[in-house]
Symmetry: C2
Subunit: 116 residues, 2 copies
Amino acid sequence: MTIALPLLTEDGTACCGTVAGGALESEQAERIARVFKALGDPTRVKLLSLIGGSDTGEMCICDLTDPVGLAQPTVSHHMKQLVEAGLATREQRGKWAYFRVVDGALQNAARTLLPE
Amino acid sequence: MTIALPLLTEDGTACCGTVAGGALESEQAERIARVFKALGDPTRVKLLSLIGGSDTGEMCICDLTDPVGLAQPTVSHHMKQLVEAGLATREQRGKWAYFRVVDGALQNAARTLLPE
């Protein structure tokens, strides 16, 4: 009996060889792309920068609308994408949601892609 | 005569105050978002990682197709987006295009957004 061994892995990347050796695994590449995709929008770049640069490291949704000049539902939608990408955390306190930057999430994605 | 002073700058960000102090300028946010948008795709994440991790720091388009399992025109299209975002450079040598990672481009974008 002969068994056909696949030369390609299920995700379509080559199974081995020097050229493929430097490539990220597909799952890892998808995870990293999700992080960067969330930051592929100038409003979300501004929002994350605002929160990261705030004195307490935390910002209320109520203080994020004015600096980006957008209504709260729109800002909430943008913040949801940043939270889902693992770049920010959300905590509901009474009426308002508060957001923090996840330490190292962006830098880790950048370093996994291109180690310094 | 009274003059109405705008409380908002033309790009919609607040002109001043502690909350707005941490925000990036719109132009800067757009530049950063362009860099990250180019990496919001797992194939482009893989391509940049492959080039950055190669022994010579340079890769021929002819060696990039197999590892990502895509045809050359598709890979060329992805590489064009990485070049336009300032993440890679392209050099034509005879028949083939060769690509290099632009040192520090990704890390600079990440650090401008969130200084470490």
